[in-house]
Symmetry: D2
Subunit: 345 residues, 4 copies
Amino acid sequence: MQHFLYKLENITNNSIGDVMGHNIDLSKYKIRTDLAIEAMNDEEKTMVTYENGIKITNVDIDAETSKKIGKKSGKYITIEFDDITDHDSFKKVEDVFIKQLKSMVNGENILVVGLGNEHSTPDSLGPKVASKVLVTRHLFMLGDVDSGYRCVSSLEPGVLGQTGLETSEIIKAIVDMFKPDLVIVIDALASQSIDRVNKTIQMTDTGIHPGSGVGNSRKEISSEVLNVPCIAIGVPTVVDAVTIVSDTIDYMYKHYVYSKDKNPLHKFILKPNYKDIKIDDVDKQQLLGMVGKLNNSEIKQLIFEVLSPIGYNLMVTVKEVDFIIDKLSLLIANGINATLHENIK
Amino acid sequence: MQHFLYKLENITNNSIGDVMGHNIDLSKYKIRTDLAIEAMNDEEKTMVTYENGIKITNVDIDAETSKKIGKKSGKYITIEFDDITDHDSFKKVEDVFIKQLKSMVNGENILVVGLGNEHSTPDSLGPKVASKVLVTRHLFMLGDVDSGYRCVSSLEPGVLGQTGLETSEIIKAIVDMFKPDLVIVIDALASQSIDRVNKTIQMTDTGIHPGSGVGNSRKEISSEVLNVPCIAIGVPTVVDAVTIVSDTIDYMYKHYVYSKDKNPLHKFILKPNYKDIKIDDVDKQQLLGMVGKLNNSEIKQLIFEVLSPIGYNLMVTVKEVDFIIDKLSLLIANGINATLHENIK
Amino acid sequence: MQHFLYKLENITNNSIGDVMGHNIDLSKYKIRTDLAIEAMNDEEKTMVTYENGIKITNVDIDAETSKKIGKKSGKYITIEFDDITDHDSFKKVEDVFIKQLKSMVNGENILVVGLGNEHSTPDSLGPKVASKVLVTRHLFMLGDVDSGYRCVSSLEPGVLGQTGLETSEIIKAIVDMFKPDLVIVIDALASQSIDRVNKTIQMTDTGIHPGSGVGNSRKEISSEVLNVPCIAIGVPTVVDAVTIVSDTIDYMYKHYVYSKDKNPLHKFILKPNYKDIKIDDVDKQQLLGMVGKLNNSEIKQLIFEVLSPIGYNLMVTVKEVDFIIDKLSLLIANGINATLHENIK
Amino acid sequence: MQHFLYKLENITNNSIGDVMGHNIDLSKYKIRTDLAIEAMNDEEKTMVTYENGIKITNVDIDAETSKKIGKKSGKYITIEFDDITDHDSFKKVEDVFIKQLKSMVNGENILVVGLGNEHSTPDSLGPKVASKVLVTRHLFMLGDVDSGYRCVSSLEPGVLGQTGLETSEIIKAIVDMFKPDLVIVIDALASQSIDRVNKTIQMTDTGIHPGSGVGNSRKEISSEVLNVPCIAIGVPTVVDAVTIVSDTIDYMYKHYVYSKDKNPLHKFILKPNYKDIKIDDVDKQQLLGMVGKLNNSEIKQLIFEVLSPIGYNLMVTVKEVDFIIDKLSLLIANGINATLHENIK
């Protein structure tokens, strides 16, 4: 016990396993995120605007930052919203999405690729979008298309476990055969925070990368690999238990400080605003003892070490996933159609 | 009118439009069949066997016959059955299917392609089979597969109207990328007779050909195009109104002759046996007047000319199509799995 | 043979089995239609109007006519249209449907019942409509509903083969429990003519009756049985082979006369207009011999006798049934929502 | 702050809101469980057996215990298993399920009711089971059923938000109309622990009760309400974030103690066995500070107070929910069929 406490007092970059006096060599918890805004700490390089209550974040990651945060260099646009279940909110988010997507799209011959497993609801966003995209390439082949439409095709390549084929290689083969000017891939992502699940759309010209996201062993899908520009549109639809617990611990700190220092009026506030709350180390250790001494990534590593060996680091999704995926896929498909075909909307 | 009758007396190879005194130059009704047994008249070149009441027809079409009947030269195996809705019948047909498929399959690295539109029930046979095939290629890539399994992958390329991409070109691109030893394509076909709908499975090493079948403009999918052997498995799931009517007229003749010459005992027979009935021209003309003077393909052309301009040459399927397609896709997927993986069953 | 011809010359009300010299006592072909306009011959009692190219037929069947044609006495409104697959046509038909439905609906507490089997595409119209109806009864129970909404509930009772329970008795039980003011049932019907399949919506205040329609043994669903007003909305989505063949024979006559007497300009007309064509018995017998001597219902009986014993009087639907049922169910659900809730649209 | 710490030192049964110095009167976190084994602490009244590695717990809750733990008095059988995704495990669990279900079922005329929303995957267990149950009642009505089959019917009543009708009242109406001897209801439940999600089947003769489970306002479905015996079969398929976090905190304690006192051999153990670990208050407070002073239900209340105001007490399900629900519904339907019809299996 003394030994343990001693170590706890001296933690620096040690493995959390060591911190806990636990030497089993677990594979480390990887911060698995496809969202640049989750990886990006340097707020100077991000530009945030608001439209109709929807937050739009533009990040241009340069080569230097890319090395630091492990996200590929390029342009990332993130749209964050509260709700798309009613008609008005849906339209507002759709409008913002179209405007931002238009700023990224170039080319006349476009292949839309819906990644994911259509038979698994949380992973079916990509195929559902692809099946709602207005496809015109076959009409262009016949020669009879009005102006106001681009040449659009779509593909649902399935997932490795269904097909036995690397998704990136399927797409590469199709791109080489049909030679589009631009590839747009849509995918369901894993989130690193519970407040972004189903409430964020990211667009990037850097494509899709293994290691980020849900950690499947699919290979990169990007302009470098495909030799044509590649835009990736992603929505986080799942989150792991580690994230749920670590986010909750963070909210516990804020709740504690907020409650402790509270203005008597706070009791009438239904939804507390934690935004400007500063938490110091004393607060953290008072509330959570030794765990309070750990920083955020150490806490995640600890939770991972606790849950993984017993099989409970579940990747989860919300109970209403069917409804949400239907709405999200409709919004993104509408947005792609309006972006690619000026005759629409 | 006299002129018309005169012409009717003299019909030879004239267009039925002329026969009817009707010169509108309609595109001719094409005998659209993917089934070799429907195209094949020369019974000497077919070998018929029965197993458990299931009819198995082997046809090897040589170059000469190929020209005559417009079916590609190669091997055709056709299985005809009455029912697969109960467990016993299902198993019997499955066993015959496995035995016949094994006789055609060679190679260790096999790509199974499910053609058709999964969102259109009568056309969803291919995708439904593909999604039930036991895929192993990704496990072979990892190196850890027991003996008794072949390296199998699958693909659902969609249809031209969904993707904007030629299905044959998608498959070509995938074959070039992944280099399987053998491609097996599964497709829903159009039938040229009502008694084969959902009751026939055809296997052939000649692939899939445009012009035959439902007449979509998809291009050929065959060993010549793909540069690897290609087996096509097809089940007729739709039939057009022309076929329903012309088949009915044929049964009317048989019913007429059967009734006319009838044995008094016939009245106790619930299901008449029309097999050995001979119909002569006098019978036909007595029953059906001028129409009775037409041969089978002229009758089809006439019905086509009657129905097409008013939009009623519908391509139809049976009311129970959802149930039947589920059963058929399970049978074919089970059969492919047992054929490709000796460890199964 | 002489005997046969003799009988053929003297046919009156004889069974077609006798006509054909065939005495097997087959169950007669029942004219199975749920559409009043198909049963109604007396054109004096129907009122036809057109709106935007959509034909609207109002029939009020009184007690006397009811006995004659075997349709229950009451009000029947039938909407006939060519197409609802493009946005404009869809809207036009929807508008007409709403206007006509509004003329029939009374009451504030309405139960919408979707009849049919949701797992069988051609029979899934009812459940698909019910699932898209805006349901409010539970909100009324809580007390917080804006004016402009009626109290609406819905039910998908399934079919006898799925549940083992008589559908009419399920509905009776629910109506007795929840006491709506009005029941609206939606069902897929069988058509007696190929040109009405998926192109007709019938509304009636007489409910649904066994014997008419697809002939399932479900019992009557009507105001008499339920003790509350009951409106039935039906769309013919299937047709049997007998109908396809007999309709085609009818079109053959018209095509024959049209071609025979043709104006030289007819050859330039792509879609012939058969509307005012008069066919006499001589024409019919010249074209179709003995069959030409039969009237329309005798021909149906003959075809039924030919096809039924060999199992080919299939009930069929169009190949595109998934797409069509989606469109139709959306149109009817939109129409019910706009009719019941004035705040909608 | 002093005040707060003081209160923290003296916590007894206070609201956690008070403990945290936070007086906002949140609705308390209700321990929402449909699983008797989760509510039952008195181990004397439970009987545990194992079969093929599957844990079977029998609890008979008497009137006295019922009051104490808030679970209705009656018989509860719980089956706990690790996996049903491979064929062998599936069969073993199925066998145990059949044996236990047989011990509860009596009667010849049985109504199977699938509760839940078929369009929401995590809630679709009930409808999926109901649609796979072998229904025979309509055949019994016709009189032609072999011995070895019971008279079985099924119902999918939908959910309040879909139908606007109270589910319990729909079932009551149907039971009154069709008078079965026994009602079996199947439902997806909420779990109070992450290790039971999709790994537990509970059978009880007490029916389904509001307040337990996911907290929907549906009313009781039980023998008291229906006037016939009522067996409820439930599987927890969702869990809330509060449970995930509180379970994780519990595992943190165990992991801490296990690691601290560890045997040098522990480092070679991949899956630690926490079963016999005793955690004392000193350990808890060292690890988690003030939070370590709270008991399990106080921790839940705290997490609830932290997450609810900001909308993050999500009800979640596993990412693979589609696959799992398919397997579970097949297992339960197979089990019901084998239990009700001795001719099956």
